[in-house]
Amino acid sequence: MLLMLNLFHKNLAKVEPFHQLKFLHTTLSRKGLEEFFDDPRNWGEKNVKSGDAWNIKQLRGKSSEDLHKLWYVLLKEKNMLLTLEQESKRQLRPMPSPERLEKVEKSMKNIDLVVREREIALRLLQTGHEKPVPGEWRNDFLGRTYWYTYKEWPIPWYLNKKYKKRKFYYLPHVNHFIRLRLEKSLRRRVRRQNLEKTRQKVLERKFPHLAVKSQS
C-alpha cells in the first residue's frame, strides 16, 4: 500500500509510530504527498475540531479569483479526508470527525451554485436565455412530448446516420395509446384529489375546530 512505498529511502529519516497510521517518515515534503494527509499533530486523535461550512451568502461576496482558489483548497482537503476515510475503513476504525467531509462537500456545492447563478444572470442580460444549451419540445415515437436539449456534433444533421435513425414523430396508430395514457393520468389525479378530500374529512371529524374554521 502507499505506506509500504519507501519514497524517502535516500534521506536518513526518523521513524515514529502513530496510533492511526503505521510507521511513516517525517521528512520534508517530497513529491507533495504529505498534502494527502492531515497535520501530523492530528494523527491518532478521536475528534478533530473544524469550523462551519462556507455559507452561500459569504461566497456571493467573493470575487471569481477567490472562489477559484477556494475551490482548489477545498478539493485538496476533500482528497485528504477521503484518504483518511479509506484508511479508517481498511484499519476497521471509526473515522475521526466525519462531519468535516460533509462540510467540505457542502462548501464546494455552494461555490458551484454561486458560479452558476452569476453565469445565468450574465446570460439573461446578454441573450435573454436562462439555459446554457438551447433546446425545444419534441415528440418521441411513443407520442410523449419532452424537452430535447441540443447536442454538439461535428457534422450537420443530414450527414449524421445515428441522428437520422432517431424518430421525433409518431405514427397515427399511437393516438389510441396517447388517449389511454391521458385517461390514466386523469384517473390518478382524481384519485389523489379524492384521497385528499377523505383525509380532510377525517381530520375535521377528529379535530372539529378545523371544520368550523373552514366554514367561517
Binding site: 479569483e65 477559484h68 441540443y150 383525509r199
Partner: protein, 215 residues
C-alpha cells in the same frame, strides 16, 4: 437566487407513510423501526402551519393533562411531524437499558412525548399557563405575546445542533477568520467566471474552435 432555491431541497426524502418517532430519521434506531417498504396505519395529526408554531426547545411549559398535570418543566425535544413535545422529567415511564445476557440493565425513567394540546406555554412573570399568539412589535419583530396579560414571552436561546457557540469559537489552523470570510471582494462585471480567471492568470486563448453543429 432561483437556482439555489430549487436545489436546496436535497435533504432526506422520507416515504409517504413514514411514522415519526422520537428519534431523528437518519439514526440507526429510526431506520430499524422504519425499514423501507414498511406500511403502517396512518396517524392523523392536527395540521399546524410552520409560522404558527409556538413551542421551541428550551421553553418552559406546563403540563395540563396526564400523570404530571400541573407541573412545569423545560422542553427537551420537539417533533413537529407528530405535534409532539418531550418535557424533561415529566410524563415518565420506567424501563431497563443496556441489558446484556448477564446484566439485567439500568432502570431509568424515560419521558413520553406529550401532544401540543396537553401543553401550555407559561407567562414569564406570572408563571401561570396562558394562551399565546404571534404578534409584531413596533420595531417589526415577531414575538410571542401572552393573551391574558399582554407580556412578551422571549424565545429560548437557540443552540446549534453540535453545541458550538459561535462567539466563543477559537479558529483552528484551517479555519478562515470571520473578517476574511465576510470580506466582500466581488466586483460585478460583464465577464464570465472563466474569462475573469483567464485574465487573472494571464491565459490567452489563441486557438479557434472548429465549426460545430447544434441539433
Amino acid at each position: 437566487m432561483r437556482l439555489s432555491a430549487l436545489l436546496c431541497a436535497g435533504r432526506l426524502r422520507l416515504p409517504p407513510g413514514y411514522r415519526h418517532g422520537t428519534w431523528r430519521p437518519d439514526t440507526a434506531a429510526a431506520q430499524h423501526r422504519n425499514p423501507p417498504g414498511l406500511r403502517r396505519r396512518k396517524i392523523f395529526v392536527e395540521p399546524i402551519a410552520e409560522e404558527d408554531w409556538k413551542v421551541f426547545r428550551g421553553d418552559t411549559v406546563q403540563v395540563l393533562a396526564g400523570k404530571d398535570a400541573g407541573k412545569q418543566a423545560m422542553v427537551t425535544q420537539v417533533v413537529r411531524a407528530r405535534n409532539w413535545v418531550v418535557v424533561e422529567g415529566l410524563n415518565t415511564h420506567y424501563r431497563y437499558v443496556n441489558r446484556t445476557a448477564k446484566y439485567a440493565g439500568t432502570y431509568i425513567a424515560s419521558e413520553a412525548p406529550l401532544l401540543l394540546s396537553q401543553i401550555s406555554l407559561v407567562d414569564p412573570e406570572d408563571r401561570k399557563p396562558t394562551e399565546v399568539e404571534w404578534r409584531y412589535t413596533e420595531e417589526g419583530e415577531r414575538v410571542r405575546v401572552s393573551l391574558r396579560s399582554g407580556r412578551i414571552i422571549p424565545l429560548p436561546l437557540w443552540q446549534r445542533w453540535d453545541g458550538i457557540v459561535p462567539e466563543q469559537w477559537i479558529d483552528g489552523p484551517k479555519d478562515t477568520a470571520v473578517e476574511d470570510a465576510l470580506d466582500k471582494t466581488y466586483l460585478p462585471s460583464l465577464k464570465t467566471f472563466e474569462e475573469e480567471i483567464m485574465d487573472a492568470m494571464g491565459i490567452v486563448e489563441t486557438r479557434r474552435a472548429k465549426k460545430s453543429y447544434w441539433y
